[in-house]
């Protein structure tokens, strides 16, 4: 009996506490949405991978915190074409990036203020938004072999669509500063790009990435050597052209200049002769083929394959 009355008192206290707390939470939620000028129906929000979600953006938001109300949630995922796609944005990486002071809508220019804000091509818009501030780089990029032809049709159009936009190489929310800042902050972005050589160039130019494995350039770069060149140190970046194009930094006409003017490369005392550059450059992407053509290596490989075949029980 005593115990029952105890439980009853506890339940009563709980009811009172909840009844007091709910209006307080509701009031706080209202205050938040007002402050961010975004009317959000929290009750209907869903982070389920399958269920649709509904947000009511009746008033545009220019505030990052407004977007991060949803996109700061690690569980913000959707099921797309059988795959779970995350829409979570790590606010910490944004804060560390060189664009920390930019609004989300500075790049997501075509953000649809409705829910779900699906819009075809929003990624392309975001990846190209860089041009609004980095005009010189965009103009150089616009002349390069990565420029997309807008009048292509059919399979050519597909090929054109596969060409990279700014964001494909530079990334998105975590872009670090590449140039020296006025405060003398070290450009972490250069190392960030160097660490992502495969993602920047290799994933599209797989053959070139694979063949970049000579002793002192490719193999060293892939093993993290700081003084070994990344792809763009030789090939250039925004104004990149095929090596057959005379405008290319790695065209035969410019090789000596390219190899001689890098940071601590072959400029030492002007010793990099035409003959040396030709010899060394041909090895940079050519060693793999030379190895593949080596008769002794081919012979040894056949022997090891034959020996391996003796123990192969799969067939």
């Amino acid at each position: 009996m005593k115990r029952t009355s105890g439980i009853g008192l506890l339940a009563a206290a709980l009811v009172v506490a909840v009844s007091l707390a709910v209006p307080a939470v509701a009031s706080a939620a209202t205050a938040t949405t007002t402050a961010t000028t975004m009317t959000t129906s929290v009750a209907t929000r869903s982070v389920s991978p399958t269920a649709p979600y509904a947000l009511d953006f009746t008033i545009p938001t220019e505030s990052k915190s407004g977007c991060m109300v949803c996109h700061g949630d690690k569980n913000l995922t959707r099921l797309k074409a059988g795959a779970t796609v995350s829409y979570f944005i790590d606010s910490e990486s944004i804060e560390k990036s060189t664009h920390a002071k930019q609004f989300c809508v500075s790049c997501h220019l075509d953000f649809a203020y409705k829910a779900p804000h699906d819009k075809t091509g929003w990624q392309d818009t975001a990846k190209l938004a860089c041009k609004n501030c980095h005009n010189d780089q965009f103009l150089a990029f616009g002349k390069s072999s990565h420029r997309r032809a807008i009048d292509a049709t059919g399979t050519a159009a597909t090929l054109e669509a596969s060409k990279p936009l700014c964001g494909d190489c530079h990334g998105s929310h975590d872009i670090m500063r590449i140039s020296e800042s006025t405060e003398g902050v070290a450009p972490q972005g250069r190392q960030q790009l160097r660490d992502q050589g495969y993602e920047v160039c290799g994933r599209c130019h797989q053959d070139n990435w694979d063949s970049y494995n000579d002793y002192y350039h490719g193999a060293a770069y892939k093993a993290g050597a700081k003084d070994a060149p990344a792809c763009w140190d030789c090939h250039g970046w925004h104004d990149i052209y095929p090596s057959t194009d005379t405008r290319s930094k790695v065209n035969a006409a410019h090789l000596v200049e390219t190899c001689s003017t890098g940071d601590g490369c072959h400029e030492q005392h002007g010793t990099a002769s035409d003959e040396f550059i030709e010899a060394a450059a041909s090895m940079i992407h050519g060693k793999q083929q030379v190895r593949a053509d080596n008769p002794l290596l081919v012979f040894l490989k056949r022997i090891t394959d034959a020996i391996g075949g003796l123990f192969d029980t799969s067939s």
């Binding site: 093993a223 993290g224 050597a225 990099a272 040396f276 060394a280 041909s282 060693k287």
Partner: protein, 285 residues
């Protein structure tokens, strides 16, 4: 032309030297050990423990220099191979420093050993000098090691093949030191670089510039590195396999038994039956 040549030469050298090292390991550690079993040498050494006798023990200083030299050469080989074939991530800078530091120590060590050989109280340079008697014994020594003969000519503390091998190490050290210096392009010698000073002025014009000369010298440096590895492989096999007690003494693991009367004959005698080791030479390969 030179473009294709440079790439091909580098790739050929990688393949040839790796193949050669594998062959050397097989020839010595498999074939030579294998043949030592039916000829009875293996039994006498490893089962009956009839190791070569010594009327001397290696002095402390050469042992210390040898140990230091071995450690630094291992570091040089490891770091040098890493610079060419980076087999783990992020080590290039550290490996370069290791290479430079080990190079300086090995260089100082080399001069220290030269001083010991020519100017110290013990001055043992004659032990490494190859004379007419040594050359005359060359075929006999080679026949002994290849099992064509059981008689090992003994004319000095070290046999002629040991002397040639140790002298070769010295020559290779000099070549490796010079070619290694010639790879340095930093202008720290009165505004010019070791590369310019050593090869730029004479080899450069012959092969198409100082940088091209550097590329060829790097090939020599790399090849000599492999020669060190191959000769050292043989050296390790013969030292541990033919005279383990002396090797253990050399590394301070177990003191060598010294018999002052081990040799009661003149050094120009021939051993009647070397494998019996009743009068075996103090051979340390």
């Amino acid at each position: 032309m030179s473009a294709i040549l440079l790439a091909n030469v580098n790739v050929w050298l990688d393949i040839i030297f790796v193949t050669l090292e594998i062959l050397v390991v097989i020839v010595f550690f498999v074939v030579h050990v294998g043949v030592s079993i039916p000829t009875g040498r293996f039994r006498k050494l490893w089962i009956e423990k009839q190791w070569p006798k010594h009327d001397w023990a290696p002095p402390a200083l050469p042992k210390f220099i040898h140990f230091q030299h071995l450690a630094m050469m291992l570091l040089l080989g490891l770091s040098g191979m890493y610079i060419r074939f980076p087999f783990f991530e992020g080590g290039r800078e550290a490996m370069r420093y290791v290479h430079y530091v080990a190079m300086v120590i090995v260089g100082l060590n080399f001069f220290w050993r030269l001083w010991y050989a020519f100017f110290s109280k013990e001055r043992d340079w004659k032990e490494f000098a190859v004379g007419k008697k040594d050359m005359a014994s060359l075929l006999g020594v080679a026949a002994y090691y290849t099992y064509f003969s059981n008689n090992k000519p003994h004319v000095a503390k070290y046999n002629v093949m040991q002397k040639l091998a140790y002298d070769l190490f010295g020559v290779l050290m000099i070549v490796q030191g010079l070619t290694g210096m010639a790879l340095l392009t930093q202008p720290f010698i009165f505004g010019t670089s070791p590369r310019e000073l050593l090869i730029g002025w004479w080899l450069g014009p012959l092969v198409g510039g100082t940088a091209m000369a550097g590329a060829w010298v790097r090939i020599v440096h790399y090849s000599v590195n492999w020669l060190f590895i191959i000769v050292t492989t043989v050296h390790i096999y013969l030292a541990a396999g033919i005279d383990l007690p002396c090797t253990l003494d050399f590394f301070g693991i177990k003191k060598l038994d010294v018999d002052p009367n081990a040799y009661h004959h003149a050094h120009d005698d021939e051993h009647a039956d070397a494998p019996s080791l009743s009068s075996a030479a103090a051979e340390v390969d």
